[in-house]
């Protein structure tokens, strides 16, 4: 039996899964990420540092804020900038709002139809109108954060190396908080809805990797930790991880040196730093019966829903305590190198830049969440298929597509 899911739908970007079952054995399993390369690391050489955030935003239409923030933090380090607390707080609100938005679009529009054996959200109408309206309420409130603080939610214009170009006024902050308060029950409903979906059994063995935080859930900075005891600062990232070119994919595949596959993203984060989640999110998790660690990769969906609760509750508090000073510093170009790690919605994201004395990029290096997840996705697909060799081709294909979607891969990011 030959299976070729040649253009996976309801994932971000262009990828395929192909394999063959010969004499009861699985052969030639490949996640073929055929998304065409755009060569960001190649053409950013020669561009000036202040152009980089707006350029890297266009790596991904669903997590532009992660690429911008990671680039901005790496360049801040290369230029030796001291960032005011107001800037860091706004960067965190932007990142959390994007994490919620990204999880919502994934949970409701990309993943949910599978669990009802439907092909699309359009097909879920009119039966699922209340769920879709819940999604629309939540996305309106959450995108409002990106609109107000960054100018717009998709490819924000107000985030620069200097900081934020505009200081949000107090009245706007109050309105944003009121809207977040309104959708808190919707977030809890989302957790319930996802927790009620039956998921296939599967046990991941890949190493979980995430950014820790000291007193709070690490998002834009932190020490890299793993379930195998890794403790790495962002400057040491390249000493511990290896990115390899794969003959059948335009995305590269990243492993821990000397060990192997890793898993990043919402499930890895919950498994490694559940205690740092907002109490509202921990309560929602307990209610839904989620107890970390969970080794079923399909639970990444539930982990995302729990992070939706976290993001909304924490954004509310951050807006309430936003430092009053200007989120802005003056910048002068200088020679240097900076590395930064952040938690994008889909997991660990790495950016590094080397600048010359005029602030021109001499070298750029990017490693995306989907490159980090690539090998563990292949290994878990293998495990899924090998434990279900007796399934009909259609059902086996459906479960494979569901597993890929549970990872919420971003092929556009992974190729960049």
């Amino acid at each position: 039996m030959k299976v070729d899911l040649s253009y996976l739908a309801r994932v971000e970007g262009e990828g395929a899964v192909s394999f063959e079952i010969r004499n009861g054995r699985l052969e030639d399993l490949r996640v073929r990420i055929w998304e065409p390369p755009r060569f960001f690391e190649g053409f950013m050489v020669g561009r000036r540092f202040d152009e980089i955030p707006d350029i890297v935003a266009r790596i991904c239409g669903i997590c532009p804020i992660s690429h911008m923030t990671t680039a901005i933090r790496a360049i801040e380090k290369a230029l030796g900038l001291e960032v005011p607390p107001a800037t860091a707080a706004l960067q965190r609100i932007m990142a959390l709002s994007q994490m919620v938005a990204s999880h919502l679009v994934h949970l409701y529009m990309l993943a949910l139809p599978d669990y009802h054996r439907l092909t699309s959200m359009a097909e879920m109408l009119p039966d699922f109108t209340p769920q879709l309206q819940r999604l629309l309420r939540m996305k309106e409130a959450v995108n409002g954060l990106g609109d107000a603080l960054g100018g717009r939610a998709l490819h924000p214009v107000g985030m620069t190396v200097n900081g934020f170009t505009r200081q949000p006024d107090r009245q706007v902050l109050g309105e944003l908080m009121a809207r977040l308060e309104e959708i808190k029950p919707d977030a809890l409903e989302t957790v319930k809805m996802i927790a009620d979906l039956p998921v296939p059994e599967l046990a991941n063995t890949a190493e979980y990797v995430a950014l820790s935080g000291i007193s709070r859930y690490g998002i834009n900075r932190g020490t890299l930790i793993s379930s195998e005891g890794l403790r790495v600062q962002e400057e040491e990232y390249l000493d511990h991880f290896l990115e390899e070119q794969v003959p059948y994919a335009h995305a590269k595949r990243t492993v821990v040196k000397g060990r192997g596959a890793i898993m990043v993203g919402a499930l890895a984060r919950l498994n490694l730093k559940f205690d740092l989640l907002h109490p509202d999110a921990r309560a929602a998790a307990a209610e839904a019966g989620f107890r970390p660690p969970s080794h079923n990769p399909f639970h990444n969906n539930l982990a995302q829903a729990i992070e939706v609760v976290h993001g909304i509750s924490e954004c509310f508090e951050l807006l309430d305590s936003l430092p009053p000073e200007k989120p802005w510093v003056e910048v002068e170009p200088r020679e240097g190198r900076g590395e930064a790690l952040t938690e994008a919605p889909r997991g660990l994201l790495f950016h590094a830049y080397t600048l010359n004395s005029k602030g021109i990029v001499e070298q750029a290096d990017l490693v995306t969440p989907t490159a980090h997840n690539f090998l563990s996705l292949e290994e878990n697909l293998r495990r899924l298929i090998e434990s279900r060799l007796d399934l009909e081709q259609e059902e086996l294909s459906r479960q494979c597509a569901m597993l890929v979607r549970a990872y919420d891969p971003c092929f556009s990011c992974s190729v960049h």
């Binding site: 065409p36 190649g42 020669g46 707006d54 239409g61 359009a122 214009v157 021109i360």
Partner: protein, 204 residues
């Protein structure tokens, strides 16, 4: 009346226009209800790219030759074909590659170029005739809604002639391109060979 048959196609880009279309814009419910989603990978599995389409939206820069072949097929199958977003309209960010020595840029990313088959990046109207553009990165909602509403009404859309920057400035936003607020006070605009854009290749 039958719903218009709709297709959304993606070439080399961030998929942001498709996200704008299925998620960020405010008329998702109406969009999902009023069009027949024949091919839109982000919304629906099991679709077909073979058409025919009443409206095809194409996002992304053309950077591989299979995209040219497919684009020509889509043109033949579509009553209306619009370029959506800066990449499809004028090359966008991926076309920055056309401003540098392309093979050098490729070599910086991949040590083995034998599996890489990129062609020089171009906007889609370099290869097919288009019926209109929905400009911006991503496009503003008003323009997107004008096109969708016009197709539903069977009319020609009145396209917005100014850039999405106008709407953004009306909203009071300050961006990297501005001279306001003391921005760029200490950094002088530089003129390097990398900033010269060759004729026919638009960047932003």
């Amino acid at each position: 009346m039958a719903k218009p048959r709709f297709g959304f196609f993606k070439y080399s880009c961030c998929s942001g226009c498709e996200f704008e279309f299925i998620y960020f814009q405010r008329r998702i419910l109406e969009t999902l209800q009023n069009f027949d989603f024949v091919f839109c990978r982000m919304v629906s599995s099991g679709g077909t790219p073979d058409g025919p389409f009443d409206l095809a939206l194409v996002e992304g820069t053309v950077t591989e030759s299979w995209q040219v072949d497919e684009l020509k097929k889509i043109r033949d199958q579509s009553r209306l074909l619009y370029a959506i977003g800066s990449c499809a309209v004028n090359g966008g960010i991926p076309a920055i590659k056309a401003t540098v020595v392309e093979q050098e840029a490729e070599k910086r990313v991949y040590s083995d170029l034998s599996t890489i088959h990129s062609i020089r990046p171009h906007a889609i109207d370099a290869y097919v005739k288009i019926d209109g553009t929905i400009k911006g990165c991503p496009p503003g909602e008003p323009e997107l809604h004008r096109v969708l509403a016009a197709v539903l009404l069977g009319q020609a859309p009145e396209l917005i002639e100014y850039s999405v920057c106008v709407e953004c400035k009306q909203a009071g936003n300050i961006c990297h391109g501005d001279e306001q607020g003391g921005y760029r006070k200490k950094i002088h605009p530089i003129r390097s060979r990398y900033h010269r854009v060759p004729q026919g290749v638009g960047v932003l």
